[in-house]
Amino acid sequence: MQKILIANRGEIACRIIKTAKKLGIKTVGVYSDADKNAVHTQLADESVYIGKSAALESYLNANKIITIAKKLNVDAIHPGYGFLSENENFAKLVASNNLIFIGPTAKAIKLMGDKLAAKKTVKKYNIPQVPGSEKPIKSIEKAKEIAKKIGFPVLIKAAAGGGGKGMRIISKASEFEVEFNRAVSEAKSAFGNGDVFIEKFIENPRHIEIQILADNHGNIVHLFERECSIQRRHQKVIEEAPSVVLTEELRKKMGDTAIKVAKSCDYTGAGTVEFLVDKNLDFYFLEMNTRLQVEHPVTEFITQLDLVEQQIRIANGETLSITQNDLKIKGHAIELRVYAEDSYQNFIPSIGKLKNYKEPKGNGIRVDSGVAKGNEIPIYYDPLLAKLIVYDSNRIKAIQKMKTAIQNYYIEGINTTLPFGTFVMNHEAFKSGNFNTQFVKLYFNDEIIKNIQTSEAQLAAKLALFLHQKEAEILKIAKNE
């Protein structure tokens, strides 16, 4: 493999370019109007303009990306995450143009992309699953019947779903009358597919996932877990590895289960099997993400592997150089996603210009970013600016390091999730490890936010007064002289 095209932008494009450079592989970047001055546009060996700012006209334009790849004699395409990374048609198109897709086969993407198909596929391998319907539910009567069997509360979910769209929690039969049709129409408009199914609703679960690597020669290993329960709007903000609740025994059990899920769809490459874990530490298969995850750096820290390098080697046909026995967890890593969002205003997007931008540095501090001072944050894409990842010998030290790193992260011009990161690192529930996906709802409520802001505002007022009085004194002295 001599040259790869990265069909992505932002921090992940930069991240992939870094490893490609390390491996001596040439890189081709693509960019839209909004990204003319972006970091990834400058970082790649060659960068090609692909269209207007809207993703549909640029980063989602599969044909254009293939044309560029052919023209520049590219050997392989890395899709990153998001955009075309889980698009089976794109994977097919890449292969039919005699290019290598750095990721799984189109077949695996298709199987795991449809949630009902995925459930059916893994069932043959006795994977624990949340009880529910195996087929799309077409009527309210049928929905009620199944809900009665598995017990309320239940969840209506879109078969083609993701990101919380088309999801409804139903706590009693009568609620189906309204909610069922709403879920169907929401699923139809979001995914072009109105199929919904029903699952038992697991209350206050943890979200724990297992990273796997599979080569084209039948070897599969798991790289342990990532704890991803700190979420807002069903999306992760803070991830860590290892998880405080997993015993060696449970870790092995979940790891083996993840490997079975990978086998069930003949998976190749790097993938992630997501589980819900309830308060009794029973775990259930949720879905498989057939791509590199945003939070992969925490796994890289604790395994000392470069996952992008592994992806490239696997795509190149190499055999995995590691076995399960070689793998040991070393230390503790935490990631904070630095989103351009206002922590104190319900995480609403904060757009604008990065008037000043300085990343923290130090041993065990890693920042994966795709922005620089002076950049406008485009409104067209995901608001992820950067990921701050810290690593230390144990969790307590890693939390301490994260707090210091956040303090030394200097961003001026837009609001970010950094203050939320500080809040979480200081919170008793997080420190003790006793938390679940309800963390934000339970602890980061309006009243607490108001208290933090009032207290910080008071400090600001005191400091300003202090500074002002100090300056006034200097002026007075000057006047007397």
Partner: protein, 160 residues
């Protein structure tokens, strides 16, 4: 009693006599960067902007920017007279809001000025007050000299 009002982010209001800085320990570590111990808790504070004349400060505390505006009792008086940034666009002159002495004139004839720019510094009741441009304008004339005593409502500057 004389006190200042301190407004943070246009939403939090404090009175200066309620804000003593005894529980504050400010350790300057480098230019505009301080470690502040507040109730014994450590905060890293960066001074983003300080404007003594306009009495406005921008501080970065725990990754959040706080805009602080200090208004002393005379500013409050001024704002009661209606001589604030919301002033009428038709204003043709800058008048002295109170009797006092002109300490400094910060603009020149024909100078183009922006709303909010300090024009004159007046001393009144042993305190310095900066009088700001009520609107974007050009200076037509300056009617007073440095050191001059002025009466309330005396015209200091005229605008074109």
């Amino acid at each position: 009693m004389l006190y200042s009002e301190i407004i943070v982010n246009n939403s939090h209001h404090f009175k200066s006599h309620n804000l003593n800085s005894k529980d504050l320990n400010v350790i300057n570590i480098e230019k505009d960067k301080n470690i502040v111990l507040y109730n014994n808790k450590k905060h890293l504070v960066k001074i983003v902007k300080k404007d003594f004349l306009n009495k406005t400060y921008q501080l970065l505390i725990e990754n959040t920017v706080y805009e602080v505006k200090i208004k002393n009792h005379i500013d409050t008086l001024i704002s009661k007279i209606g001589f604030t940034e919301n002033s009428n666009q038709n204003l043709k002159v800058l008048k002295a809001p109170m009797p006092g002495v002109i300490l400094k004139i910060l603009v020149a004839k024909n100078e183009k000025i922006e709303k909010g720019k300090p024009l004159v510094i007046m001393e009144a009741m042993k305190m310095e007050n900066s009088l700001m441009a009520p609107k974007n304008a050009t200076i037509k004339s300056i009617e007073v000299n440095t050191g001059e005593k002025v009466d309330k409502n005396q015209i200091l500057i005229t605008f074109k």
